[in-house]
Symmetry: C3
Subunit: 320 residues, 3 copies
């Protein structure tokens, strides 16, 4: 691994120097490639903890809104790769942002560092930053926009837990209307030969345009309000949080909030070889009693997230 | 030093993989072992500044309340050992904690990192975190609970400054009622053959149950309101801050606040070979005029603190 | 490069172990030396990204007020030199500062680390810190006091962009009355054979005492309100922000704010081989339309800033 391979000699040129803005950038072979690199990262971390693949590289971790989980995951990722990080939190309170545009802030940070991870509350912020920057920008969530590394880590978790995608039945549970993560994950899953079930209260159903896009790819789908109906056939249960604020009427919330709580008892109706996922944080959607069940994959999901982010960093910086 | 010594081959298995929650975990031989490792750290930092003992390791520094001194000390400690750190401040304002339990936050962070240092305002928080986590948790203060690394660094300071514990007279001064540090230090000192004096205003005396516990170990004790009475025999003077808020009546505070101020003049009554300690910050309890006196050990105490934390990290991570 | 060269063998002893508090510490040969080291840093970063010149060293980055740009620049600088950093933000909200003096905080941090970068809102804070500390203190801005590393990076930018100082005409534009950066830069420029123009609204003119100090060194100066008058002869145009708050009467501000906006059209009147600088952040003083012009040097200026800070760190720590 030398420091200055000419472009043509980067072993894995697909995302070298690229921005990571949306899951739409990834086709099936990109995903397989990414997950292969992530799996190598997994193995290396188990063996040596950290290694010097990105020695010489410095990452800006630019967070306009707090997201400790995502931020920490990227910090651990670059550090385990032997690189360094410039962490910027709460930009809105700092002088950098005193009337400064996002574009100028990002152009400043790319003078100091080799890539920029950006979390921003506004949709489209990551694309604006990427348009201004010469160096790679990785979207770590831009408000109601995208959060591609979350969707990629969700998909990678399925791969690690189940060993494959094709033939799986994936059931999404909870708030499917506003849940950005399930929308992006559904999009990625259409690259494979899966079946998708949607389980939610009526008012939080998967939006029709997302279902149309999935249907267009020939992916079988089924929407229901009844978890028990689809739990027995489920290989992957993706649980999301139902936020009280989504309901106009608090009593409506009280009605549904307990109907989708995952407990050891509920899970008696599921396969023994399946995985329960959750993007976290959870607030009661999964009982802590279930945490010790081997099917409880949500903390491993966090760990897989670090490997996916390591793989993305290595890819965009030309060292994968 | 290889990365994966089987357990039996860790040179110093006593605290390998363990949590550090309380000073009660340490007996005399544990302390001697810890201080031996800390002294090696001291020597290495003097010689080379940083070294790669914990290369490959990433530490979470998880602070639910600010404590710049303790936090910085752990950051410098892991960095001087060649490891990396994921720093998390003000968790309460971040999304990680949006209704997320401490247990879930800690279980998430241990997916990314190899150990968790935890500062939390609630008593028992460190034990709860340790119960949830697989990886080592180090208690960096849990409110009115314990702050074991402070007590350990205090004891190590005595060892480095005076060369021994046995035979020493240690005088504790100031707020002995609410001062968590003096309670823990007293507990550690009972492992040695010392005498302890307590000097405080009546209303801030050492609580009876702590004195009983000390007495039970056969340690001679003496409580007084008069510093001059015990200063001449004192080998270690441990000064603490008296907080105005402890007094119901402000005039009571004004009466006592100046009676325990350490000045060059006061210190004329002390031995020439002794040490003045303070956990810092100080607010007038020790005059800055005394800072240049060779007996003023409180800034060296900060430095020793880093070596003790380096030693603890190396021990729990199996590299000491 | 060994770790413990005796003092006499430090290759570049001029600033070894010194504080960096003011531009007044630098004479012409110091600047040439500093810029030579900075240029070596530039070359090394281009070649390898990071390198181990300051391996073994830990830096405290102590910011009592936010300044993301300056802070990030120092973090990237120490990391690219193979050192580590203890970052402290918002000290005012933390326990370190609970009534603790700046002096005690700095003395604590120098126990953990090898040098302290200090940003503080009060004039003279850096000198106070330096007086208390044994280890080097670098002033990263002390309120209305100095911000020497900004002035040094400004001067270094001129050197890199224009290849020389002697014979250049430097035009300063905007708020020259309150702009700390232009005052310090003017002071540094008097070490060379330059001409300085001042362009500003009447009420924001360069203060007379600064002009007197420049005149004393025999440097030709010219003050005007009209940019067009001096733009054709300008080699370096240093643009600063005019803050609305400087004007008693908002209508006065509205009158002048647009008269000094740099656009591609305005710049038609300038040389083709010249440089436009700005300390950033900008808020409209330079049109983004001009950013792609090769004369737009303000983002490169940020990059040069990192090299100057790397050079300063290497010099004070005896490794340059």
């Amino acid at each position: 691994m030398t420091d200055h391979l000419p472009f043509g000699e980067v072993r894995n040129p697909r995302f070298f120097g690229q921005d990571i803005l949306s899951v739409s950038q990834f086709d099936r072979s990109d995903l397989e490639n990414l997950f292969g690199v992530a799996h190598e990262m997994y193995g290396m971390v188990q063996r040596v903890g950290t290694f010097d693949l990105l020695k010489g590289k410095v990452l800006t971790n630019l967070f306009y809104e707090p997201s400790t989980r995502t931020s920490s995951s990227f910090v651990a990722a670059i550090e385990r790769l032997g690189g360094s990080v410039v962490q910027i939190n709460n930009v809105t309170y700092s002088s950098v942002s005193k009337g400064e545009t996002l574009e100028d802030t990002v152009r400043t940070m790319e003078q100091y560092t080799d890539a920029v991870v950006l979390r921003h509350p506004e949709k489209g912020a990551a694309a604006r930053a990427a348009a201004a920057a010469v160096k790679p920008v990785i979207n770590a969530g831009d408000g109601p926009g995208e959060h591609p590394t979350q969707a990629l880590l969700d998909a990678y978790t399925i791969k690690e837990e189940m060993g494959r995608f094709d033939g799986l039945t994936v059931t999404m549970l909870g708030d499917l209307k506003y849940g950005r993560t399930v929308h992006s994950l559904a999009k990625l899953l259409t690259l494979f030969d899966v079946k998708i079930n949607y389980v939610s209260p009526e008012i939080l159903q998967m939006p029709q345009d997302f279902m149309d896009a999935v249907a267009e790819k020939g992916i079988p789908q089924h929407a229901t309000t009844d978890l028990d109906e689809v739990l027995p056939e489920t290989d992957v249960l993706y649980v999301t949080r139902i936020q009280k604020e989504r309901f106009e009427n608090p009593s409506e919330y009280d009605e549904v909030k307990d109907s989708y709580v995952i407990t050891p008892d509920v899970m008696k109706g599921a396969k023994s070889d399946m995985a329960v996922m959750h993007p976290l944080p959870r607030v009661g959607e999964i009982s802590t009693d279930f945490d010790t069940d081997p099917r409880a994959a949500y903390f491993r999901q966090m760990e897989y997230g670090m490997y996916v982010r390591m793989a993305l960093l290595a890819l965009v910086l030309g060292r994968a």
